[in-house]
């Protein structure tokens, strides 16, 4: 469903991603873990065509993302939802219009249908009464849930989550992970989840990639990462430091 093949990206002459390769099977969730600055967010942006790599390719449903014309890329993005790390809510639109935005762009629904879908979506993220509010009136957790609602409202078969629980309290974090679990189990969504919350993603991801300094240092299933003897992976998975990461 998603394939990343030999991706390399330089930033001011310095490699930030080097020969990154992995696959995500249909209906599964891949956990992308690693220390800050490892290139995880950049990798997500390359996967959905927001950033061009210097070499290598990504494939979504067998279609090569790099080199697509703007119209083809736009069409492909109807199949991908992206939850941004910093929410990326449109600050000049209220919550209802933020969530309605992708539906309005698709142009497949009437205004009445869109408003009904938005309300259902708000109910599903436990925020039924905030449709009239603007992003600057919301807390971090509320923004995250609104961002989540906007990413999934067009029912895309692929959803990319960039650190969905960063900076949130444990209760809101667990709610977010429940949403992610529901997306996978009820809708069969294929996804990649970046997270530093190993406890949270342990149960919702089927496979894991550990990135360090732009390189894949581990790629395998949940069982494999739990039993790996690879020091870096063990260190990150179990949350102890022996100065190998960094």
């Amino acid at each position: 469903m998603i394939e990343v093949r030999d991706l390399t990206k330089y930033h001011f002459g310095r490699p930030v991603l080097e020969n990154v390769s992995f696959r995500v099977k249909e209906g599964t969730n891949l956990g992308l873990i690693g220390p800050g600055g490892a290139g995880k967010t950049l990798l997500l942006k390359i996967i959905c065509g927001l950033v061009e790599p210097d070499s290598g390719n990504t494939f979504i449903k067998g279609q090569k993302v790099q080199g697509l014309a703007l119209q083809e890329l736009t069409q492909l993005r109807f199949d991908i939802g992206l939850l941004f790390q910093n929410y990326a809510l449109f600050d000049y639109l209220n919550v209802t219009e933020n969530i309605a935005f992708p539906l309005r762009q698709a142009g497949k629904h009437t205004n009445k249908e869109i408003l009904k879908m938005v309300q259902e979506s708000l109910n599903s993220v436990d925020l039924p009464h905030i449709g009239h509010q603007y992003p600057n009136e919301l807390s971090g957790g509320m923004k995250k849930r609104v961002g989540f609602a906007r990413a999934v409202i067009p029912k895309p078969p692929i959803v990319l989550y960039d650190d969905p629980t960063a900076g949130l309290d444990p209760v809101t974090s667990s709610k977010i992970f429940l949403f992610l679990k529901a997306m996978k189990e009820e809708r069969g969504v294929t996804s990649i989840t970046i997270s530093h919350d190993i406890e949270g993603i342990r149960d919702i991801c089927d496979s894991f990639v550990l990135l360090n300094k732009g390189k894949v240092v581990f790629y395998g299933s949940r069982d494999e990462i739990e039993n790996t003897q690879l020091s870096l992976a063990r260190q990150f998975w179990h949350g102890f430091s022996d100065d190998e990461l960094g």
């Binding site: 993005r77 941004f84 990326a88 809510l89």
Partner: protein, 284 residues
């Protein structure tokens, strides 16, 4: 003796050669860098302009957003423009009248010549410089903050094209409102000049309001300039905003870049249209 020794030392000679080569290369880099920057920027601005025109012709119609931008550019700038151009009219008439009194003492053509100058030069150009400062920086900062907070990427992920969604309404609104503001600016400056001429030099209104020197050609040149400025300012501002990198520091850089580039563009366009205008006038 010491110099002879240095010249004879091959290592010293090599170092001297390298240092000369470094100076030459630094010299050419210093000349080449701004040329490369200007060429690249003009190329990118031309591409953005063409894509914007394409969406103006064939894109989605969003009249509400255009009206909102017209309000932002026009209504919110009118006081600023009126005050600036009003004072400019008073100063110019006072200075012109003062000089004329010293040389000929004849003030009968004061209003007529001032109106011609206002229509051809000061009206559109000063208005555009004010718009570049007030509106251009606002556009660059707004779009720049949208870029650094990933809102532009979110727009792309929602299958909305940022140029169509963000640049086109600003472009249409600015093109219309710079023309409107130029007309308002010319009228206010001319009226302020009339009051100054009457108060300071006792020039009566009948003498001042003389349209004898103004031709259709002056009106066409003035409106052509206003049209060109109205299209150029949002393109430069939006280009600066959409190319922001590096967080809030980058937004600051973009606003500075926007106002500097837009002001330079206004002056260059003024020169080109004025020059072409005189060529056309000579031919016909």
């Amino acid at each position: 003796m010491s110099n002879q020794k240095q010249a004879a030392d091959p290592r010293m000679q090599e170092e001297n050669d390298q240092s000369s080569a470094g100076l030459v290369s630094a010299f050419f880099a210093a000349i080449g860098e701004p040329i490369v920057y200007v060429t690249r920027t003009v190329k990118e601005l031309s591409a953005l302009f063409l894509v914007t025109i394409k969406y103006v012709i064939a894109g989605k119609r969003r009249p509400d957003e255009v009206v909102a931008q017209m309000f932002e550019i026009g209504n919110r700038s009118v006081v600023f423009i009126a005050v600036t151009l009003g004072f400019l009219g008073m100063i110019l008439i006072y200075q012109a009248g003062f000089q004329a009194m010293k040389i000929t003492g004849d003030l009968t053509l004061l209003g007529a010549l001032f109106l011609q100058l206002l229509m051809r030069e000061f009206g559109p150009t000063i208005t555009a410089l004010m718009i570049a400062t007030r509106v251009g920086t606002g556009m660059a900062a707004e779009l720049g903050s949208m870029v650094v907070t990933d809102q532009v990427d979110a727009m792309k992920m929602c299958a909305a094209e940022p140029i169509e969604y963000l640049v086109v309404p600003r472009f249409i609104a600015s093109t219309i409102m710079v023309i409107v503001l130029t007309i308002v600016a010319v009228l206010i400056s001319y009226l302020a000049g009339a009051l100054t001429a009457y108060t300071a030099f006792d020039v009566n209104f009948r003498t001042y309001f003389d349209l004898g020197f103004v031709s259709y050609f002056d009106i066409i040149i003035g409106l052509t300039k206003a049209l060109a400025y109205g299209m150029t300012i949002p393109i430069i501002a939006c280009h600066a905003g959409l190319n922001v990198f590096g967080g809030s520091e980058g937004v600051g850089r973009a606003t500075t870049q926007s106002v500097v580039n837009a002001s330079l563009a206004v002056v260059v366009i003024d020169f080109i249209i004025s020059g072409l205008g005189y060529v056309v006038l000579a031919l016909f």
